[in-house]
């Protein structure tokens, strides 16, 4: 029967369009890669691709933490400060106190979990706006990092720590393996566990979630705690990357991670986001910096470009959720 067939065809077409729409980020990613490769063939060399991946690891891990927060309806602008504080702590524990590396890592991650938990409790109890609250906390944590090291970087991070950023197993860099494992675990958590669903439900409509028998407060605080753990691991990588405990490291991380997530379709309204797309956003931001550098673009011009991409992503996010009339073009609200 031809009409039925045609109907089916239309259905498939619609599905294909939906899929393309859903994963636009990866199409942009590939397109951008082609442009950069044409500009400078070195861009596509295996070594450069591994460099991009390695550079995106810290953001990738932090991004998973921040994603769980944005989805649950929170936000954390103190992640950069936590990373810096962690790198200082690692330096103190490993250089000054000469503790074995597993103990160093354990203590660092535990401290960050505690900080994340506390942040969650404070924001949940006082109902302050997460953005403002964590900005204040960011200053406090930064201050603590400076106090811990007396304002000067502590150099001489041992190889046992450095290996987490600089080492490789076979041809694969250790940080890539670490980030991949974390991203996969978080992806599975979001998609297949009830806890993941609770995070989405709480961010989607907190009161309705609570009235469905979910302990929304616990879910909210748990998301902050997860974010804390991510900061600790990212701090480990940062210490390995810089080779010292530096209280100024990671100062731009918060903004980079946020823009990457928004580009990756994690909505600031809460309750929406996909790990695959978020990873796409993170790769895009890292690739942009890398590609522009290879193409010989001035560092300050790069800042302007990255900022513009962030702005564009936020505007697109807004269009998706509100109908918008922009320069005479009417954008329809997403059904």
């Amino acid at each position: 029967m031809p009409p039925a067939n045609k109907k089916k065809e239309v259905l498939y077409m619609k599905k294909a369009v939906d899929i393309i729409k859903e994963y636009t980020i990866f199409i942009i990613l590939i397109a951008l890669a082609i442009v950069f490769a044409v500009k400078n063939p070195a861009f596509l060399r295996t070594s450069n691709i591994l460099t991009i991946l390695r550079q995106s690891c810290i953001m990738g891990i932090l991004g998973m933490g921040e994603m769980s927060l944005i989805v649950v309806g929170g936000l954390n602008l103190s992640m950069g400060a936590c990373v810096a504080m962690s790198s200082v702590l690692i330096a103190i524990l490993s250089v000054h106190m000469e503790l074995p590396w597993p103990v160093v890592i354990l203590l660092t991650v535990l401290l960050n979990i505690a900080v994340g938990f506390l942040t969650g409790v404070i924001i949940n109890k006082t109902k302050i706006v997460p953005m403002i609250g964590t900005m204040a906390l960011s200053t406090i944590i930064s201050g603590a990092a400076y106090l811990m090291c007396g304002g000067l970087p502590i150099s001489g991070i041992p190889d046992s720590i450095k290996v987490f950023y600089q080492g490789s197993i076979g041809f694969l860099p250790v940080p890539i393996i670490l980030a991949a494992v974390i991203i996969i675990i978080m992806g599975i958590m979001f998609k297949y566990t009830y806890f993941g669903r609770y995070i989405f439900a709480t961010g989607s409509n907190r009161e309705a979630a609570r009235l469905s028998g979910i302990n929304a407060d616990s879910v909210f605080i748990a998301a902050y705690t997860i974010c804390g753990a991510m900061c600790g691991i990212a701090g480990l990588l940062m210490a390995g990357r810089v080779g010292s405990g530096n209280p100024t490291s990671g100062s731009t991380l918060d903004m980079d991670v946020l823009s990457a997530l928004v580009i990756g379709g994690v909505s600031f309204l809460g309750g929406e986001g996909k790990v695959t797309k978020a990873v796409g956003g993170i790769l895009l931001i890292t690739m942009l910096t890398n590609g522009l550098t290879l193409a010989g673009v001035n560092e300050y011009v790069q800042m302007v470009i990255t900022g513009s991409v962030f702005l564009l992503a936020v505007v697109l996010d807004s269009i998706q959720h509100n109908s918008l009339n922009l320069f005479g073009i009417h954008f329809k609200k997403k059904a």
Partner: protein, 494 residues
């Protein structure tokens, strides 16, 4: 009489639906013209077209003899069309006068002329002849009914010729409704035309001169209100004869399912209630009498100050909705969109939310097959109209959204179900389905606490009624004793 507004062959399509299908309408100057239809009949789309909020695909709007193919919000306002939506467009932190004259720059030099503004606003408000409505009061301190009056005052101040009211009585108590009707009559005497939209058909006979029925975006008929009966209207609306049928069970038993002892707090003075197996217990009273507040206490959604809750004779320590859900209580909250459904999530995610942990394994992984099966079962059982379980709840009609909220608790096999205004804002056919469902649940041994502002509904479906007034229990009636007068007497605290 001349027509102030004529609509010819208006068409508006959205992806997948034709919201308006060659719709035509004539509204006479100075009349109160009611517009009725089920949810999804296209009433909102029509209002939005007249208000200029959306652009129709084709057709024309003729206002005072001038023809327009589309209106913009600014043009619509300029022509003298005012719309009072269900959700008010007020700035709560500003005063009543400031709201009324928003955007009108009544200034004295650099500053706003507060004195003049208050004086002019008060003049308008005084026409309403209601007590304690001051132009200088902050809007957020006003009760809902007064906020609505501010909306009306706003349109009058802009010298509106046509005022469209979308479900204006939905948030009002009976007494407030009477005030509104009086004001509508006064507006009519001044030559202002009213388009009045409501789900409560009884009201039309008090307030409307003519009534137009629309169904599936199409014009069905326009009748003089006095010439048409309620049953006829409903028949026009649904396209078939349909009577409210509350059914009659004899399912109540003497077995006590839930009992509260001197439970109080959340603005309610302590009182006790007993809910039997298979019984539908009504909580009556005016809006704000403490019905919702008491339900919240039982469900753990608000902190109790005193009293105990017993389920099956055992004391239940309910401190949060989570405890209540564990004890087998479910609640369909008053505001479906705000607290009931997770609009941005899909049907499946909504329905399984309370049982998610139970259908997960030890490691926390949700059993997706069980999830799918339960969802499909509930979609079929409740006849939720949707292309798939993956549909966002936001895209469903009001009645189907409410069914999703109900399905959530049915999937959890609740023993006690609290229904807070379960039929508010949903169409006649969906209401009937909800009544059937209540009967079915009761006959299965469920205990149901029902809150409703619709007296006919409450009388029809409940076995027993507790009536509240200003946070106090004022009366208790058995079904055999029900009369409207008795209920009203208790509800007004006399």
């Amino acid at each position: 009489m001349e027509n102030i507004l004529e609509i010819h062959d208006l068409v508006k399509t959205y992806p997948g639906v034709t919201a308006l299908d060659k719709f035509s309408l004539e509204v006479r100057r100075g009349e109160c013209h009611a517009l009725v239809g089920e949810n999804g009949a296209g009433k909102s789309t029509l209002i939005k077209s007249i208000a200029g909020a959306i652009t129709p695909d084709s057709g024309t709007i003729v206002f005072e003899g001038k023809e327009y193919s589309e209106l913009t919000p600014a043009l619509s306002k300029e022509l003298g069309i005012g719309v009072i939506y269900q959700e008010f467009n007020l700035c709560p932190p500003l005063s009543v006068a400031e709201n009324i004259y928003l955007g009108e720059h009544l200034t004295k030099g650099l500053f706003q002329n507060e004195k003049l503004m208050n004086k002019k606003a008060q003049e308008i408000l005084d026409q309403f002849k209601v007590e304690n409505l001051k132009a200088s009061a902050l809007v957020r301190t006003l009760p809902t009914a007064y906020q609505q009056l501010v909306e009306i005052a706003k349109t009058i101040a802009k010298s509106a010729k046509l005022v469209i009211m979308d479900e204006p009585t939905a948030p009002l108590t009976d007494r407030e409704v009477q005030v509104l009707f009086r004001i509508i009559k006064e507006l009519k005497e001044k030559g202002i035309t009213i388009i009045y939209i409501s789900h409560r058909l009884d009201e039309l006979y008090e307030v409307a001169d003519r009534v137009t029925v629309m169904r599936d975006g199409c014009y069905i008929t326009t009748q003089e209100t006095k010439d048409v009966t309620k049953d006829q209207l409903i028949a026009y609306m649904v396209g078939r004869e349909l009577k409210k049928n509350f059914g009659r069970r004899n399912t109540e038993t003497s077995e006590i399912l839930l009992e509260t002892r001197d439970l109080g707090g959340n603005g309610v003075k302590p009182f006790s209630l007993q809910l039997h197996k298979g019984e539908v217990l009504g909580l009556g009273g005016l809006v704000g009498a403490g019905r919702t507040e008491y339900a919240q206490l039982i469900f753990g959604a608000a902190r109790k100050e005193c009293g105990e809750i017993y389920i099956n004779g055992e004391k239940a320590d309910i401190r949060s909705p989570r405890d209540a859900v564990k004890a087998g209580i479910g609640m369909v909250p008053e505001d479906r969109k705000l607290n009931g459904a997770l609009l941005r999530m899909n049907i499946r995610e909504n329905i399984v939310l309370p049982i998610l942990k139970r259908i997960s394994n030890r490691a926390g992984f949700v059993n997706s097959r069980q999830e799918r099966d339960i969802t499909n079962e509930e979609i079929q059982a409740l006849r939720i109209k949707t292309p798939s379980a993956e549909q966002k709840v936001n895209n469903l009609s009001g009645g189907n959204q409410q069914k999703v909220v109900l399905a959530k608790w049915l999937a959890n096999d609740c023993r006690v179900l609290i229904l807070d205004e379960p039929t508010r804002g949903i169409d006649v056919a969906a209401k009937q389905e909800i009544y059937n469902l209540i009967n079915e649940l009761a006959s299965k041994g469920c205990g149901i606490i029902m809150i409703s502002s619709d007296m006919e509904e409450l009388i029809g479906i409940t076995d027993r009624m507790l009536i509240l007034y200003e946070g106090k229990l004022t009366g208790q009636l058995e079904r055999a004793e029900y009369t409207q007068e008795k209920i009203l007497t208790y509800a007004s605290g006399e």
